[in-house]
Amino acid sequence: MDKKNIIQYLPYSKPFLFVDELLEVSENGVSGTYTFSESEFFYKGHFKENPITPGVILTETMAQIGLVCLGIYLLKEDILSEKKPQIALTSNQIDFFLPVYPNEKVRVVSEKEYFRFNKLKCAVKMYNTKDELVCRGTISGMMIAK
């Protein structure tokens, strides 16, 4: 399972796919990037005539790169045998420090805290292109290949 394969197994599509590229992936963590195009669907309403990426979308981006991509890598043997990853977000706690504007590229870095009994818990951070911390927190989800 290489980095390109992982993205192909993601159960998302536009306009709700927030992974462009994976930089690194291992048993212990993952990092990857996404660039928010100015045509993303949510900028029209968040906020009126003042487009800023919603916190829930930043959280989703952290979860897709930091948790789901890592989970697919960890479940690789099951997934390669034609099973599909089934996922559910179960909790998150995120602190936000900086806004993300249209056309900004972000980098997500996730470290595995544990993956046991199908629950994956990670410490996840997001940085902008200046390497400033945008947000950080912990995200957990259940991941099963079925």
Partner: protein, 83 residues
């Protein structure tokens, strides 16, 4: 450790994860974690990890799958402690 002491420890462990306060108040050996206390599957994992820390034991996948009620949890903990 007596059964009563074990139940008190288990009760403290599950408390943060329960949804059904009434079932929690009336917790007995027969109480089921999912059906009675309405603990979700992710939090059931937290319960098991907390049990491991509290009793300094390791729960394997087979035991985890059985650990669905207070009674089953007590049996598994006692088994591992005496092993």
């Amino acid at each position: 450790m007596t059964k009563e002491e074990l139940i008190i420890k288990l009760k403290a462990i599950v408390k943060p994860y329960i949804q059904d306060e009434e079932a929690f108040k009336n917790l007995t050996e027969e109480t089921d974690f999912i059906n009675d206390l309405k603990i979700n599957s992710a939090n059931l994992v937290d319960v098991i990890l907390d049990v491991e820390d509290e009793f300094n034991i390791e729960i394997d996948n087979d035991s985890m799958e059985k650990m669905l009620s207070v009674k089953a949890a007590m049996q598994i903990i006692e088994e591992k402690l005496s092993a």
